[in-house]
């Protein structure tokens, strides 16, 4: 291909070319508008940055080729016939192109989000280095504030939320017996919006005045006054949010319209249920964070008065709008994990999920209750007094549906045949650690207590118990569980267990003591603290370094096993759900023929139980010899 053709066709060349063009466009636009309205100087760095933050990502997405098909379609030009050239990956290079295959997109998501996890984690290491002793050692307060803000934003918007979308992307079409997602091109677009958001947030460190430094919550009015770095968050979140809404919409449509024959809602695996409910949350709640950031953006760049009390604005409005999204967001970050754990506990304990229907109902209950509790983040914010007690009650009631889940998993373990594989270990670790984090959540909901502990390290402890001990443990569990399916290879079980024990122990040593310093009076978001907290902080920092290193075990295991691990059989866990009935990795279009679902997904121990059958012409799986040591799948004929 000539360079000219490369620059015209979709791909990295055109994406690269789009960047100077977008920048030039931004400069031109700003100059034109400012000249028109008689501002001086005509070229204003902040205004250009703001516009460029919007045009450059769009330029990139267009350049890489997410819109080519739609542009042709919309202009009425003959569309390229569907030759599936954008489908499936033949070499590693295909992972760097716009691809419409849900399996490729799933892996693109997972790898990309882990890169941001590593970046966010390394920032946490700098945070801990700074906090190892009182006083200022490595970073000045401005950088410190930037570090934890970017740390949390990456972890939440670029890791937990999208990595769940990635896992679900890979697994859900297979689980429900669909050849792909409902809107494969939208799926690709969702993915490619994501890195732009992440790059933007990381790049904010190079902005004039430093990275955005107002926490991941970006409360007004400080976020409307800080330097230009804030804009990288305000706009970055829009891209991450749009990506998240588009994926959720895609999941909902896929799950509603593309289930295999016989796959009623009550026969769906709980992971599908979990993503169904999560997607509802995303579609309904995410526009609120978009709104809150629009307000900040407008106040910052056009001088409007959403948050200026002197002109009639209202500061607390920000928090209401923000938390109306961000509380549901914590369930967006947890429900898919609940789904993963249900799969793993049942499969690796060889028992049907206890109380399947209640498990599904409890997800729905959490979604509904989740919309009624946002102000529990505002108990000390000076908001309406009357709202506090009702919000305390609804918040505490969430213990009931969540309890249903915890107890049902325990009942599933009871009298099972428990295989302590790495995924199972992480699932068990999750159950105990999340219970602890959930209990601290209940404590936080009790207003007189939270008046004291709000904005302290007790909150930081809660965050990490539910997000690391909760969500991240389920992510690890899920990745180990589906690793053979995704890569066709088996991971190293010994290293997996080592990873579990190291992270379990040092997780607790890192985040456990934060409860103590928090209640004792150490506020969060500080680069410097009183000497009385020095000992615990030193312990926390040292543990956190080892905890961080334990991740290297995981990374090493994943990379080497992916490259040269033993080949995996189709169904190493002898699971019943459909994704395990096809080869590992699955064929390019998932199925030769859509399977028919004839029973529940977890009928372990029920003699002769089958979840899905494939057409009788060909068996979907030829049991392969090497690999994880499971027996041939029981369901093939």
């Amino acid at each position: 291909m000539t360079l000219g053709a490369k620059l015209r066709g979709p791909g990295w060349y055109r994406a690269a070319l789009s960047q100077p063009i977008s920048l030039a466009f931004s400069v031109g636009l700003v100059a034109a508008v400012r000249a028109l309205y008689g501002y001086d100087p005509v070229l204003d760095g902040n205004a250009i940055t703001t516009v460029a933050l919007i045009t450059m990502p769009i330029g990139f997405i267009v350049g890489i080729g997410c819109f080519d098909y739609w542009f042709r379609w919309a202009s009425g030009a003959p569309t390229v016939p569907e030759d599936h050239s954008g489908h499936g990956a033949k070499t590693w290079r295909d992972y760097f192109k716009v691809n419409t295959d849900h399996k490729v997109i799933g892996i693109q998501y997972i790898v990309t989000t882990f890169i941001f996890f590593i970046l966010g984690g390394l920032m946490a290491m700098v945070i801990r280095a700074e906090l190892a002793q009182p006083g200022t050692q490595f970073v000045d307060p401005n950088t410190y504030n930037g570090l934890f803000s970017v740390h949390a934003s990456l972890m939440i918007f670029l890791f937990i939320i999208p990595v769940f979308a990635g896992i679900a992307n890979y697994v859900i079409p297979l689980m429900i017996g669909a050849p792909d997602m409902a809107f494969p091109r939208l799926n690709a677009l969702s993915f490619w919006m994501l890195p732009t958001a992440g790059v933007m947030m990381v790049a904010s460190f190079f902005a004039d005045g430093g990275a955005f430094a107002t926490g991941w919550t970006a409360y007004a009015p400080i976020s409307t006054e800080t330097p230009i770095g804030q804009q990288f968050f305000t706009i970055g979140v829009q891209f991450a949010g749009a990506s998240s809404i588009a994926t959720a919409l895609n999941f909902l449509v896929t799950i509603i319209t593309m289930r295999a024959p016989g796959m009623t809602f009550w026969r769906m695996p709980l992971l599908v249920w979990a993503n169904f409910t999560t997607s509802l949350l995303v579609v309904i709640a995410t526009p609120f964070i978009a709104g809150s950031q629009f307000f900040v953006l407008l106040d910052r760049s056009l001088g409007t008065h959403f948050f200026d009390p002197a002109a009639g604005g209202d500061v607390l409005m920000y928090q209401h709008v923000f938390w109306f999204y961000s509380h549901p967001a914590v369930y967006i970050m947890m429900l898919p994990g609940f789904g993963i754990v249900s799969e793993i506990v049942s499969t690796h304990a060889r028992k049907p999920v206890f109380g399947y229907r209640m498990m599904a109902f409890s997800l729905v209950a959490i979604v509904i209750l989740g919309f009624t509790v946002w102000a529990h983040h505002m108990f000390v914010s000076g908001m309406f007094d009357w709202m506090r007690v009702p919000m305390m009650i609804t918040t505490m009631l969430i213990a009931v549906p969540t309890g249903i889940k915890i107890f049902s998993w325990l009942a599933t373990l009871w009298k099972g045949v428990i295989h302590l594989t790495t995924p199972m270990l992480f699932a068990l670790g999750f159950i105990t650690m999340f219970t602890l984090g959930g209990i601290s959540g209940i404590i936080l909901a009790v207003i007189p207590v939270v008046i004291h502990v709000s904005d302290t390290y007790f909150i930081v402890a809660h965050i990490h118990y539910v997000l690391f001990g909760g969500s991240v443990f389920t992510i690890f569990a899920g990745l180990y569980h589906w690793f053979p399916k995704m890569t066709g290879r088996m991971y190293d079980e010994k290293l997996g267990k080592l990873h579990f024990w190291l992270s379990f122990v040092f997780f607790n040593l890192t985040f456990g003591p934060m409860h103590f310093v928090g209640v004792d009076g150490m506020p969060r978001r500080v680069a410097d603290y009183a000497d009385q907290f020095a000992t615990w902080n030193a312990v926390i920092s040292v543990s956190s370094f080892i905890f961080g290193l334990s991740f290297l075990v995981f990374l090493y295991n994943m990379i080497t096993s992916w490259r040269q691990g033993p080949r995996a059989v189709a169904n190493p866990w002898r699971a019943h759900s459909i994704e395990w009935q096809v080869s590992s990795p699955p064929p390019i279009f998932n199925f030769d023929e859509i399977p028919t679902v004839v029973g529940g997904p977890y009928e372990y121990g029920v003699p002769g139980a089958v979840h899905a059958v494939f057409g009788d012409k060909k068996a979907p799986v030829k049991p392969a010899p090497a690999g994880g040591g499971g027996a041939p799948p029981p369901t093939t004929e």
Binding site: I222, F407, T435, V446, P448, H452
Partner: protein, 356 residues
Amino acid sequence: MGRLLRKRPALGMALLSGVSTAVGIVIVLAIDWFPVQASTASPQIDTLWDVLMIASVPVFVLVMAVALYSVFAFRAEPGDLSDGEPIHGNTRLEVIWVTIPFIMVSALAVYGWIVLDDIEAKQTDPLIVNVTGQQFAWRFDYPDEGKVKSTELVLPEDRDVEFRVNTDDVLHDFWVPEFRLKTDAVPGLTTKIRLKPSRIGEYDVVCAELCGLGHATMRSAVRVVTPEDFDAWIAKEQQSETDGGAAAAGGDEAAAGKQLFTETGCNACHTLADAESASAIGPGLDELSADAEKYGEQNDQSPEEYVKTSITEPDAFLVPDFNAGIMPADYAEQLSPEELDTLVKYLLSVSGEEKP
């Protein structure tokens, strides 16, 4: 125990959980969680906390016990390809584990509500203290005690106090850990805290809401003193308030300048040896006269003019390595022209060679 567990797992587990729960409760109650109790709200909140701990331990122990027991009792032998019992549910169990948590959280919520009502109960004739947050310092004034202004919070023991919390700029949060109570300082609102100090001592006001660069160091002293000492302090402050004015008029400009420097909150950001401040958010002012000479020349200003514009329009000229938008830009409104002059003279006189 081991045999019991194997023979009657449920009974054995109940026993095991009972013992662990007891141990757990002893541990959580033995931990010294809180700072000292210095207000009447503290014991109530601490008791509530203990109750929450007592309620939480059995929940956690139960989860751990079932999980651990299952792992040990039902672990698969290597090569075991059998399945577990196909139990799909048990309505009675499910009803139990919906009902019990429901009752527990409802009871705790009611108890929490009662405590909340108690600590926020109306007071009779409280001492009113206005609290104002500003990046990055607190100011206090006592409107009913002759408008005393102070950068230190002094409170009488055993008297109801109502704090009315405001802010000049962004969100802050007024918190004294020993009192257990906090509230955000919200632009456009006055938030309130009511309490009764109950222990003589010195504590810190901590800013608990991220407010920018100096958030970590936004601290002020609180002193709880006997009512007599409090009255004496008020009298003294009233005196020095008049003195300060008199000094400014009468000539003790250095004392007046120092007071202005601390009371306006400059010490929150600037190091100045004479005023005993050591914060490093803004440039140090110990060498200001030299700097003013140098930067003043660059801007065609006399040193005095330079310092004055530095205070009234901080962003007009930026000291190298410092950013715009950090130093508050509204001192021209906060300070009268005379006060401004006093401050400028003071700053130039205490910095550099001609230190008094």
